[in-house]
Symmetry: C2
Subunit: 433 residues, 2 copies
């Protein structure tokens, strides 16, 4: 038989294989997301991993549609898409049950998302993303709630306002400024897209695009600089279109997260459906891609068939946050995130081996985390080494003491051991370390 | 604007929207799977949600390949597949790191899987599946370990050996019997497939297929009936090809799970890569599709490019098990699986509302699960009703007592209330209910 092609050993480009240490770190991040969501009163939901393609083409905009993995079932007549983001699914789910759901509804979800673009640092074809959304509340209080949840997760992961910054803006305010900078009403969406891609656009190309839209970039930049003072009241020139942004600033202060946040008119986000506030979380040095992003999408629920419903949300992926945590030394060694075995069972002889599975079953049924060596292994010294490397709290040595219904329990932290009646094993192993 | 097409409100056929109550039940099942896996010494992994299509075409067999959602990136040259099962990914991951991984390696995973077939009861296009596998152990002890883990999950979910049965067989034993029933060596794989589809094949069609393979179905059925006694020793006619099955029976007894298991030569499983034992878990009445299935696949790691490596695993989906738990009344009302709020904050006046977000932030930072009413709501009676419906342990009423840095804490279970210093709030709310 010819050797199989080497490619069998590799998953698709831009995807990840999570071996236990990597998986433990991923679960650590996910458990922070979940814990924060629950404490902040969000309820967990999920939708399908793939949707009808037209759910995304309807409104997400070209920025995301060009990156979608789409497919059709053999013999089928509908196009599907691996979900590139959660908001359209969430809008669809709210719309479908709008009559029965409270306002506001607070939802969160954690799951896989997909982009068909070229993989690069901080950007993969599959990643895990956390979404928190408040649906049915048009006030900036809802915006402040999702920002507060994102900040709580950053803080719980060990980051500080010196490490990461939440940059907040508002498309209503930005639209007002863009109009004053020369942009016609029907070019506003294009202008947002040009501004969103600014960092990835060569300067000459950016200038050309601004010219196409009659956008005076220098005037916009000057307004952006001045508008940094909108929360502190040091900028008086702003018009009424800055009112929601101003209110958000006050509410972020009430929620005690102001020190994490800056107002930055230059943040516009790439998705076409944002209608109000927009957020982006960045590593303070600006070296990495965005850690999180979000904003208000007051038209999306209606657009997919529901009643007019204001909504706002924020999403954080696992890729950039992990890079940032690694850079700052904020991740423990992976084994700290892995569950520690309570007991490692060792059979000193063949007769003991025959009793081992039933003893393991009894301990596990009592809720204990139990491991054991290979069935044929009898070298107690080597097995004790294996027990230590597995991080077990106790080694339980099954040997001739079994004849009097006892076993030897070795405390691997204290390096002490004693004989214990088999009947007392659950109590002894289950006691706090 | 014309009304948007109604289809926006519905996800793809055969997929599910998980609203909070459904999600809570799903998390309950997943947490039983995870808990059992950890207690049994399995470590969590995950792979990509999509793989190169040829990872499946290489060996899974036509039974699964015809059901794959496959796709290609626009402008790309590789075919991808939404994963229909986990074993090929697991084999690929083990093969890629075989030199660095212990033998045996015990892995588990929980994640979404996909089948492009017609949705029907117990069978959807997307479901969540739990996999437990032991890699690098050729002995039936490994087979017994994965069966014991599956049984532990069934038991933890509230099922008993009267509700569900593990049917175990062995393809080596079945092959021996098939040879004696007239099947030629190069027709064995076809014969397994015909037997696997027997329940879904009209009798005449089944008879025709058996005739094509020279399979004497009556003789096979007679052997199946006799072989039920192989574990109890009541069947002496079995040849050496029954030795692993016999050993497995003894090991299942050692692991104290015999009363859940039957030996049934009629179970062969549809996947082409099974090479030894095979398992299927069924509702005892036989009304539902299989709850779980698995077996030994000693050639798959090598086939995808790794060293020769024996392996065995079992997988359980969330769809059939949920139907069975529902039928038997073994699911609590969903809210029992949802996290209970520690506190529901109520602002009795506008001034209190301005203090609410900071108080909520402080309590959440201390680890408490905190909810609150809409920002503008001031009707304390109605808000207390909302707090009760949310299942909160305490309502915290912020009112004029704030002037002396106090709040009113109402124990919603005991229906008692008292004034508490704001500084003591974390301690009071954090105390066990």
């Amino acid at each position: 038989m010819p050797a199989p092609p080497r490619t069998f050993l590799q998953g698709p480009k831009g995807t990840r294989d999570f071996y236990p240490p990597d998986m433990a770190v991923r679960r650590h991040i996910e458990s922070v997301w979940r814990g924060v969501s629950v404490r902040h009163g969000f309820e967990e939901i999920d939708g399908p991993t793939f949707e009808h393609l037209d759910l995304y083409t309807v409104k997400s905009g070209p920025g995301i549609v060009s990156e979608i993995f789409s497919f059709r079932r053999a013999g089928g007549d509908r196009d599907y898409a691996l979900r590139p983001e959660f908001t359209p699914t969430l809008a669809r789910m709210f719309a479908a049950q709008a009559g029965a759901l409270p306002r506001p509804t607070r939802w969160f979800m954690i799951g896989p998302f997909f982009r068909a673009e070229r993989p690069q640092r901080g950007r993969l074809r599959e990643h895990v993303q956390w979404n928190v959304d408040v649906i049915g509340d048009a006030t900036p209080a809802a915006d402040a709630e999702v920002v507060a949840a994102a900040v709580a997760a950053l803080e719980r992961l060990g980051l500080t306002p010196r490490d990461v910054r939440v940059r907040a803006s508002d498309r209503r305010a930005a639209a007002g400024v863009l109009r004053r900078c020369g942009v016609a009403e029907d070019h506003l969406t294009d202008a947002f897209e040009v501004l969103d891609r600014r960092d990835r656009t060569p300067p000459q190309e950016f200038a050309r695009r601004c010219a196409d839209l009659s956008l005076d970039a220098a005037a916009f930049d000057a307004a952006t600089e001045a508008a940094r003072g909108v929360w502190s009241g040091s900028w008086a020139a702003c018009g009424p279109e800055f009112e929601p942004a101003r209110e958000l600033g006050a509410l972020l202060a009430e929620a005690a997260v102001s020190e994490w946040c800056d107002f930055d008119l230059g943040v516009v986000r790439g998705l076409a459906y944002y209608s109000g506030s927009v957020f982006e979380v960045h590593e303070a040095g600006g070296r990495e891609r965005a850690i999180a992003g979000g904003g208000r999408y007051d038209n999306l629920v209606e657009l997919v068939g529901g009643p007019p419903t204001p909504a706002v949300g924020i999403a954080m992926g696992d890729v950039v946050i992990r890079l940032v945590l690694e850079e700052r030394g904020l991740l423990e060694p992976p084994q700290r995130y892995q569950p520690r075995p309570d007991a490692f069972l060792i059979a000193a002889d063949d007769e003991a081996q025959r009793s081992l599975p039933a003893i393991a079953a009894r301990l596990r049924r009592a809720g204990l985390h139990v491991r054991h060596g290979p069935r044929g292994a009898r070298n107690v010294g080597r097995l004790l080494g294996q027990a230590s490397r597995a991080g077990a709290r106790f080694a339980v040595i099954l040997g001739e003491e079994l004849r009097r219904d006892s076993v030897v329990v070795r405390d691997l932290d204290a390096a002490t051991q004693r004989e214990v009646a088999a009947a007392d094993l659950v109590a002894v192993l289950g006691s706090p370390a």
